[in-house]
């Protein structure tokens, strides 16, 4: 068996899951209904379709991490708990093959799921509005896929680090709260905590760029910024607060930096996960 065989075997096992098919179907129905119910006020057909996906992007920001984490949290932890990992490694496979094979397989699973959601939404949006702004839809699909891949990487890495199902669940739920919910729940927002420490505890002058930079470490904020890269100017949204109206954001808070944030979130968890898996006593 090779990396490819590990990926193929895992993908086959994953696609047999009734739960995954049910989730994919439900999400497809959900995006269909959103695309159907959306009504753009005084917008042309193509603009309405873009507005539909822009609105859906807000929902995807919260939903796609759940899809990715649920599809991936047991990738390696499940094999470790059941003992299957010994069988996998008993064949001429290295731990690298298992780790990367599982990652490739889970990326494939969520890619199919996200593609299905986009397909149903696109079909309904086109059927209802008669226009397809292909470049924007493809761009949003690519950005959404990148965002989902970040959470697959995090989940597979955590799954490689822990050895039990219960811990894998706890790690997946915890990562969702730390990377997503802490940036959207008013009152416990990371930005508020940083502002409190910076201004109240340390007594510094307010520094909005600093608080923005801390916010920007979240994949969710990066996703919202990345969407600005692929939509026309009138659909861009202001994601980060500005010190005053007309203030220009520094280059390190630009929309393009979101790709760097994604790259870091893809590379660092995978490197840590692989390092811990490589040295784990199985």
């Amino acid at each position: 068996m090779t990396l490819r065989d590990v990926a193929r075997k895992d993908f086959t096992a994953a696609r047999r899951s009734r739960g995954l098919w049910a989730v994919m179907t439900l999400l497809g129905l959900l995006t269909t209904l959103i695309a159907f119910g959306f009504s753009g006020y005084r917008l042309g057909p193509a603009e309405t379709v873009i507005a539909i996906f822009r609105t859906m992007g807000g929902m995807f920001g919260l939903l796609l991490p759940i899809v990715a984490l649920v599809a991936s949290y047991m990738a390696i932890a499940g094999e470790r708990e059941s003992g299957g990992v010994k069988f996998l490694l008993g064949l001429p496979n290295s731990r690298r093959d298992v780790f990367l094979g599982k990652l490739a397989s889970r990326l494939g699973v969520v890619t199919v799921g996200v593609a299905f959601m986009f397909t149903t939404a696109t079909v309904m949006a086109v059927a209802r509005n008669g226009a397809l702004p292909l470049g924007v839809v493809a761009g949003l699909f690519a950005v959404s896929l990148l965002y989902t891949a970040v959470f697959v990487a995090v989940a597979v890495a955590l799954s490689a680090i822990v050895a039990q199902r219960s811990r894998a669940i706890a790690a997946a739920v915890g990562s969702y709260f730390v990377l997503v919910m802490l940036y959207v729940i008013p009152g416990v927002s990371v930005a508020l905590v940083v502002r409190f420490v910076h201004q109240t505890l340390l007594g510094f002058e307010p520094n909005v760029d600093l608080y923005n930079a801390v916010l920007y470490t979240s994949p969710l904020i990066a996703y919202r910024k990345a969407m600005n890269l692929v939509v026309p100017a009138q659909f861009e949204r202001r994601v980060l607060q500005r010190a005053s109206e007309g203030d220009v954001l520094p280059a390190y808070l630009g929309d393009e930096v979101s790709l760097l944030v994604f790259a870091v979130w893809l590379a660092v968890p995978l490197a840590l996960g692989y390092w811990r898996f490589e040295g784990a006593d199985l």
Binding site: R15, R42, V126, N129, G130
Partner: protein, 218 residues
């Protein structure tokens, strides 16, 4: 159950699912033209013209324009839609196409002006009643000198009667001018063609989900 039957059912589900999912995108609904008399105005023709609205006498409308206007008046929700190629030539459906999104009062009024036409109804016209909100027009308050000077009850009553008369005249004048707002857009969600396409996409989604699972299971 026989494996052959399951395999056939799975294949049918997948084929039907793919066709039902993709077909609506190949045959999208056509845009429609909306005509709305629900916005209304409390201004008369002269005031509307002064504000830049186009005022057209009912008799000068094309036959199609007259039909659409009457159908809109008869519509219970004060809105009437026709296919995109069946509008009236004098209605400014694309009047605000080159405008940006209106975010302030002036922008909104400008958009309203560009996408509206004021129809002057003939006196004693055999038309359905207009939708103009003439009830919102109130009688002007009595002038203070007049109120102070009118000592007797008879004088007050005459003054009140004159005010009521002026009010009725004003309402009749406003009621002769009907503001029709038009636009081009997607059909409403309750449109039968739109609902048919929704049903097809939902069927396709479930078909692919179910068929995909049946095909993948061990």
């Amino acid at each position: 159950m026989d494996d052959g039957i399951v395999d056939t059912a799975t294949a049918v589900l997948l084929v039907v699912g793919v066709v039902a999912l993709l077909a609506p995108a190949l045959f999208p609904v056509q845009q429609v033209l909306y005509h709305d008399t629900g916005v209304g105005t409390t201004m008369n023709g002269t005031e509307l013209e002064a504000r830049g609205y186009t005022v057209v006498e009912y008799e000068n409308l094309s036959e199609r324009g007259q039909d659409i206007y009457v159908a809109t008046l008869r519509s219970p929700d004060r809105s009437y839609t026709v296919p995109a190629d069946q509008g009236a030539p004098e209605f400014p459906y694309d009047g605000a196409d080159d405008m940006d999104e209106a975010n302030d009062r002036e922008g909104y009024e400008e958009r309203q002006r560009r996408t509206s036409i004021v129809i002057e109804r003939p006196e004693d016209a055999d038309l359905p009643p207009p939708h103009e909100p003439v009830d919102r027009i109130r009688a002007e308050p009595p002038e203070p000198e007049q109120a102070a000077a009118s000592g007797g009850e008879t004088a007050t009553s005459a003054s009140e009667s004159a005010r009521q008369q002026r009010l009725e005249q004003r309402r009749a004048a406003v009621g002769r001018y009907d503001l029709v707002t038009v636009r081009q857009g997607t059909p409403p969600v309750t449109d039968s063609g739109t609902l048919l396409r929704l049903g097809s996409v939902l069927l396709g989604t479930v078909g692919i989900g179910l068929g995909g699972y049946l095909r993948s299971r061990p």
